[in-house]
Symmetry: C2
């Protein structure tokens, strides 16, 4: 399995990360995702990490890059399904995923994206000092 | 990664199969999925196989079991994202996935499930001689 599938659901794209990420897979995901955002005119990207036991600095950086790339293509990225242990480790490691929005699950993530599109502002809980538009 | 994540979206559960299935993983998926159907009262199960290069008799049987289990729990199963090459191989191998409904992508699969719930019948294209309720 050399690619992570990207599923289109309405205005959003959904990616479920289930396998160990390595450089090439991360690059492929970034390329595929940016291409799909343009192709489908998606307004949001949901990344489900509920299968991940650990989010290290490599994955953290990759998520940050994806969020930044999506942002310049006018799509919001929301990270969903983070395990409690992952949240603890992230903060302990000082990886607070700047610029990445989070939601408890896919449904809330999708609501967040829809709210942001409707309000034409950024999703709530950004934590990067963005003002509401 | 010892589990395949199951995402809840409205009335449906979504499973993306990305890793090679083996006995234990298939068993875990069946148990998790049936538990989640009951817990969330889901009416549909979407299984995305767009990452699979091949669907052999083992996976075919597993999908059939999942569909049958979901059916007795009053949930419809729709297989989405099948690659053309997989469809060719399935037919050549004589595995025509009886009892499993298919749709081109997640959106169409979800429409199929919603249509079936609204009509209170079974999704179209079942091919198992079920009459409309």
């Amino acid at each position: 399995m050399e690619r992570i599938p990207i599923l289109k659901m309405g205005d959003c794209l959904l990616v479920t990360i289930q396998v160990d990420m390595h450089d090439r897979l991360a690059m492929t995901l970034q390329e595929d995702l940016t291409a799909r955002v343009v192709e489908t005119r998606a307004r949001g990207v949901l990344i489900d990490i509920s299968a991940l036991d650990i989010v290290d600095s490599f994955i953290g950086r990759m998520l940050g890059y994806i969020a930044a790339m999506a942002r310049v293509l006018d799509a919001r990225t929301v990270l969903v399904g983070m395990r409690p242990s992952v949240a603890i480790t992230l903060v302990e490691l000082g990886l607070e995923l700047p610029g990445v929005n989070t939601a408890l699950n896919v449904e809330r993530g999708m609501e967040m994206i829809r709210g942001a599109i409707a309000g034409n502002g950024r999703p709530a809980g950004n934590g990067k000092g963005n003002r509401q538009a």
